[in-house]
């Protein structure tokens, strides 16, 4: 059961960490130790299994039987799962180390570190669990941890709302996920994934279950139409964004589809839905990223778009390409967010319009950004180039038919992915130019504030931004290595066979994406050159507002879901009070009223009473006579 240690250690240490007292100074040390130890232990176990164990590892024990359904605690760990676990544990370790410095003045660091541990453990549980209920446990615990962590920052008024939104939107998707899992389990009578993968479902049931699961996947992996929580989740501390975007949470959905792929491979309808969802998400995310002013939101929308590449790869029948892109994305997105944290740490703002000219003061951060954004855009030979190339090849291959998914799905995904290469290059270049080039716009368009001293009036001396302290710098520096080079493992035969990936081939098909890449980057650079200091996004014209608001989908979601639910709640509550409860209260008051009336009748004065008695006697007599006559 060594595999159980991978999620088990961080989960256990996280639970212990929750019991630590909050506080400053020395009281932070045990929390930091527990947090770092948890991630490091997972990393070590994963590495040792990867190097020494006989794979795939498959262990399970009986957990509980509910009715005729047997649940197991099981861990199924193949090489692919170990690679993902490796990525998760590495990112988590760096995030833990980075957070020690990033949250150096936060008295609630202890629960934060514990929650990061739980978060990591939950993701690792999703990755390693051989049982669908285990996956569900990790899946939901992750949702709860993301809620807690996004809402961590007390200084941001929008943080609690963003946290609630993240949990609720994913939870709406999880309604589908739970039902899908229920259908799969009810059909097979077991929750072991290995058994489910081979169970023979009827095609209707299977498609229904898989579509339901896709709802959950859309929620967790921020796919259209349930992606709306991810940009808002930027209210969380930046290391948390790195964790959510790089290796946990958003990767979980892709990974679950990967685990259940043999089932998806039998359902063209489910794959077609996934493909359409992916194509919309790729373009939606990329276009929305072009117009954001908040640096973290640019990265958030880029995640939405990149996850779309992964689901697109799944839809066109290449789970290997999806997983490869997941791994490279984990590397460069973790790098980008941690580097963004360094920028925000230094200049004290998220807004690109208040940055500029950081290249000279923050060379380490600048070069990390260059590597990260280059990988994101797919510049050869950085990691993103290879994995994105894989996705494009898979999609192009699907347009020839022969796969499970219909041919048109291949076309849709391929075109969306190609077009997004152009846009991605554009916004990546824009981000780099706005943040690091030109002059500092720290004080806005009006220049720095005046300061009146005894001697003379003068400008406030601008604070010189600087590269971050060691605990933050080293994780960034180390992450540049996989972000740059991870793509080359595609040439490692062991890696290829583990993912069942085809041999890399550099063919003429490469030219098209490279031309688009150059065109996108060139366009952004040209705009920047034409009007130095101006945001290239201004060239978007009227579309800028539409893109910046994410196509107004938040408003639509509010109109279509939030408000109706509130209205229904109002009606139901009113019904409960005015009808259901009023009936009960009415019975009570009615009875009291009748009782009072009778009590009054018993207190009438003697003459009236005498009349009433006589009248009664008369009535009874009349009745007696009537019946007597009748018989």
């Amino acid at each position: 059961m060594t595999a159980a240690l991978i999620p088990g250690v961080p989960l256990l240490l996280g639970l212990i960490g929750l019991l630590l007292p909050p506080g400053d100074g020395d009281r932070r040390r045990p929390a930091a130790t527990l947090g770092i130890a948890g991630a490091a232990a997972s990393l070590l176990v994963t590495l040792s299994l990867l190097l020494f164990a006989h794979k795939p590892i498959d262990v399970s024990t009986h957990w509980v039987s509910i009715g005729g359904i047997d649940l197991t605690i099981g861990f199924t760990v193949g090489v692919a799962a170990l690679y993902v676990a490796l990525a998760v544990a590495t990112v988590a370790l760096f995030v833990q180390i980075y957070s020690v410095a990033y949250l150096h003045d936060d008295p609630r660091y202890a629960p934060y570190a514990a929650q990061v541990s739980l978060f990591t453990g939950a993701m690792l549980l999703v990755v390693t669990s051989g049982d669908l209920i285990g996956v569900l446990v990790g899946w939901e615990v992750m949702g709860a941890c993301s809620y807690l962590l996004i809402g961590h920052d007390r200084r941001l008024p929008e943080a609690p709302a963003a946290a609630v939104k993240a949990f609720l939107v994913t939870r709406v998707g999880d309604v589908g996920f739970l039902l899908g899992v229920a259908v799969l389990i009810a059909g097979a009578g077991t929750s072991r994934i290995a058994d489910l993968r081979t169970h023979d479902y009827s095609s209707g049931t299977l498609t229904a279950a898989l579509l339901l699961i896709l709802a959950g996947v859309a929620g967790k992996s921020a796919q259209f139409p349930l992606h709306t929580w991810l940009p808002d989740a930027m209210a969380g501390p930046t290391p948390i964004s790195a964790l959510i975007h790089a290796a946990t949470m958003v990767a979980a959905g892709v990974y679950v589809v990967f685990r259940l792929y043999p089932l998806y491979d039998e359902s063209p309808a489910a794959l077609a839905t996934l493909g359409v969802m992916a194509a919309i998400t790729i373009l939606l995310g990329a276009l929305s990223a072009t117009a954001q002013d908040d640096m973290k939101r640019v990265l958030a929308w880029s995640t939405v778009s990149q996850i779309g590449y992964m689901t697109g790869a799944l839809a066109v029948g290449s789970p290997a390409a999806a997983l490869f892109h997941l791994l490279t994305h984990a590397a460069f997105k973790a790098l980008l967010f941690l580097a963004a944290g360094a920028v925000i740490h230094a200049v004290g703002t998220n807004y690109l319009s208040r940055m500029g000219g950081l290249r000279e003061h923050m060379p380490v951060t600048f070069w990390s950004f260059v590597v990260g954004l280059g990988a994101l855009a797919g510049v050869p030979p950085l990691s993103g180039f290879w994995s994105k190339e894989n996705v494009l090849t898979a999609a192009a291959h699907a347009t020839e038919g022969g796969g499970t998914a219909p041919v048109w799905v291949g076309w849709v995904v391929w075109l969306a992915a190609l077009f997004a290469v152009l846009i991605t290059a554009w916004y990546a270049t824009r981000l780099l130019l706005c943040a690091f080039f030109g002059i500092s716009r720290e004080h806005g368009p009006d220049g720095p504030d005046w300061e009146i001293g005894f001697d003379d009036a003068r400008y406030t001396a601008p604070a010189v931004p600087h590269d971050p302290p060691g605990a933050m710098r080293w994780p960034i520096l180390i992450l540049t290595i996989p972000a740059a080079l991870l793509g080359l493992v595609a040439y490692a035969p062991g890696f290829r066979t583990a993912l069942e990936m085809e041999d890399p081939h550099l063919s003429v098909a490469l030219v098209l994406p490279l031309v688009l890449l150059a065109a996108g980057a060139g366009a952004a650079w040209w705009l920047w050159q034409a009007v130095p200091g101006a945001d290239p996004a201004a060239a978007l014209g009227p579309a800028r507002h539409l893109f910046a608001s994410g196509f107004h989908l938040d408003t639509i979601q509010d109109r279509l879901v939030v408000r109706p639910v509130r209205a229904i709640a109002k009606v139901v509550t009113a019904t409960d009070e005015k009808v259901v409860d009023a009936a009960v209260e009415g019975t009570g008051t009615g009875t009291t009223g009748v009782g009072n009336a009778l009590a009054v009748a018993h207190r009438v004065p003697l003459p009236t009473a005498a009349v009433a008695v006589l009248a009664g006697a008369l009535l009874l007599g009349a009745v007696a006579v009537w019946f007597g006559a009748a018989t």
Partner: protein
């Protein structure tokens, strides 16, 4: 008599004796002695599982003494896997409640809690219909007294509503019990199991009567309106017992007596029951979205949670019934904890209005942490106790198949998402945001030594009351077998009797 039979009787007799002793003592000693009695009662409860001889179903141990033969009334107590978890929960919550009372005065309240324990445990252990009815009724008046004597401002009205409403249900229970006992010529639940000796019509009639009675207790929508008032007004310990175990008498009765004695009736009524259960889930969670008072919100959440339990029962499948039993215990643990916490918050802030609370995370981080844990457990996070009952009620409905049950499963799952919505709203109002101190607190806080409870820290007594519930929530979540281990044989016996 074996030692197990002695233990069985002791579970009911010790608290009753304790109540009598407490009533004779002075306040401070009385509370200690009361807690002692409640704690000692745990010993026979712990002893009972050792009586379980094999996995063949049947009772672990029983005591059967003829009491009033003219009425077919036997003093027949027994315990099996279905009733044991609830008995254990009753014992645990009573100890925690009596211990919690150490920080305030309340000799009579301690005595009443012990009477309640005797009545509730007796209900769960009775294997004779008439005896079941007697214990069922014994609980009513002490609970009335607890609410009317120690409740909030509007306590008398709430207590009156509670007692009259549940008495209304009891009329149906009495009719049902008499119908069954007279037609079958016996009141012994073991003999009646599977509907033996009752024809189809009698079973229909009996199940209808019994189901209405238990639906009031559980409570099933739309017979639930006594619950929010009673909970809002009841003192903390009253709410804990009420939500923790009293409601379970309804669901337990429905499984043991309703489904057990009139399986044909249950089969016939299952769709209606299922529809009402899902209505309860949806109505409960939607109403929760609009609640502005802490305890009232938690009370309405009980309606939703018990809806899941009733949905599990309504499926009449092994999975559903086991999910219901698990949901019962989980709800007792989690909602008990939530009411303890609501009480603690109200003690500190002197208000339960959500609009006046806020910033608990800053002022009392520990309390906020436990509240967050309880809320997340209550919204059904997998890995904690609340998940199993709800998820597998849905699985059972899916398993049952067909248009109706599939729809019910979908609606119930949506109800699960709504549950998350209102609990997050609760947490956002109470724990996040700037710390708001209501005017009343500010004024009393200025007076030196006015109120010791204003301290943000959590007292030892409170930790003592909360930690077992929190620990068990996690334990049952990780190992649901703790509750389910002995249920499969009796549940299979129940489902096999179904047509």
């Amino acid at each position: 008599m074996t030692i197990y039979q002695v233990a069985l009787v002791a579970v009911v007799a010790l608290p009753a004796l304790g109540a009598a002793v407490v009533a004779l003592l002075k306040d401070r000693t009385a509370r200690l002695v009361g807690t002692g009695f409640a704690a000692v009662t745990l010993l026979p409860i712990i002893l009972l599982p050792f009586a379980r001889s094999s996995a063949d179903g049947g009772l672990w141990t029983e005591v059967d003494v003829s009491w009033v033969s003219a009425l077919n009334l036997d003093f027949h107590l027994g315990v099996d896997g279905v009733s044991y978890p609830l008995v254990a929960l009753t014992g645990l919550l009573t100890v925690l409640c009596t211990a919690y009372l150490q920080k305030s005065s309340g000799r009579a309240l301690t005595a009443l809690l012990l009477v309640l324990e005797a009545g509730i445990a007796g209900t769960f252990l009775s294997f004779d219909l008439i005896l079941f009815f007697l214990f069922f009724e014994v609980v009513l008046l002490p609970m009335y007294a607890v609410i009317a004597g120690w409740g909030g401002e509007d306590r008398r009205r709430a207590a009156r509503k509670f007692v009259l409403y549940t008495l209304f249900g009891s009329v149906f229970l009495l009719l049902g019990v008499v119908t069954v006992a007279v037609s079958a010529g016996t009141g012994d639940l073991a003999e009646l199991a599977g509907g033996a000796g009752l024809d189809r019509t009698t079973q229909y009639a009996a199940f209808t009567l019994l189901a209405i009675a238990f639906a009031v207790k559980a409570p099933l929508w739309p017979l639930h309106t006594w619950l929010p008032d009673a909970h809002t007004q009841a003192p903390t310990v009253g709410s804990v017992i009420l939500a923790g175990v009293l409601l379970k008498m309804g669901t337990y009765g429905l499984v043991r007596v309703g489904v057990g004695v009139a399986p044909l009736g249950a089969e016939k009524a299952a769709p209606v029951l299922g529809i009402l259960a899902v209505a309860a889930i949806l109505a409960g969670s939607l109403i929760c979205l609009r609640q502005t008072e802490l305890k009232r919100l938690i009370a309405y959440s009980s309606v939703g949670h018990m809806g899941f339990v009733l949905l599990g029962i309504a499926t009449l499948s092994e999975t559903g019934l086991q999910a219901a039993l698990l949901g019962n215990v989980a709800h007792g643990l989690i909602t008990g904890l939530l009411f303890f916490l609501a009480g603690a918050i109200k003690d500190r802030a002197h208000t339960g209005e959500l609009s006046e609370l806020g910033g608990l995370r800053e002022t009392a981080p520990r309390l906020a942490g436990v509240l967050g844990f309880a809320a997340i457990a209550s919204l059904g996070l997998p890995g904690l106790a609340g998940f199993w009952g709800e998820a597998f009620a849905v699985v059972a409905a899916v398993q049952r198949g067909g248009g109706l049950w599939t729809t019910l499963a979908v609606l119930a799952a949506i109800g699960g998402a709504l549950t998350a919505a209102y609990f997050l709203r609760l947490l956002r109002r109470v724990t996040h945001g700037p710390a708001r101190v209501p005017a009343t607190v500010a004024s009393t806080a200025l007076a030196p030594g006015a109120n010791g409870h204003l301290l943000p820290g959590v007292t030892t007594v409170e930790w003592l009351a909360w930690s077992p519930l929190a620990a068990l929530t996690l334990a049952v979540g990780l190992a649901p077998a703790l509750v389910l281990i002995a249920t499969s044989a009796p549940v299979r016996a129940l489902t096999e009797a179904l047509p």
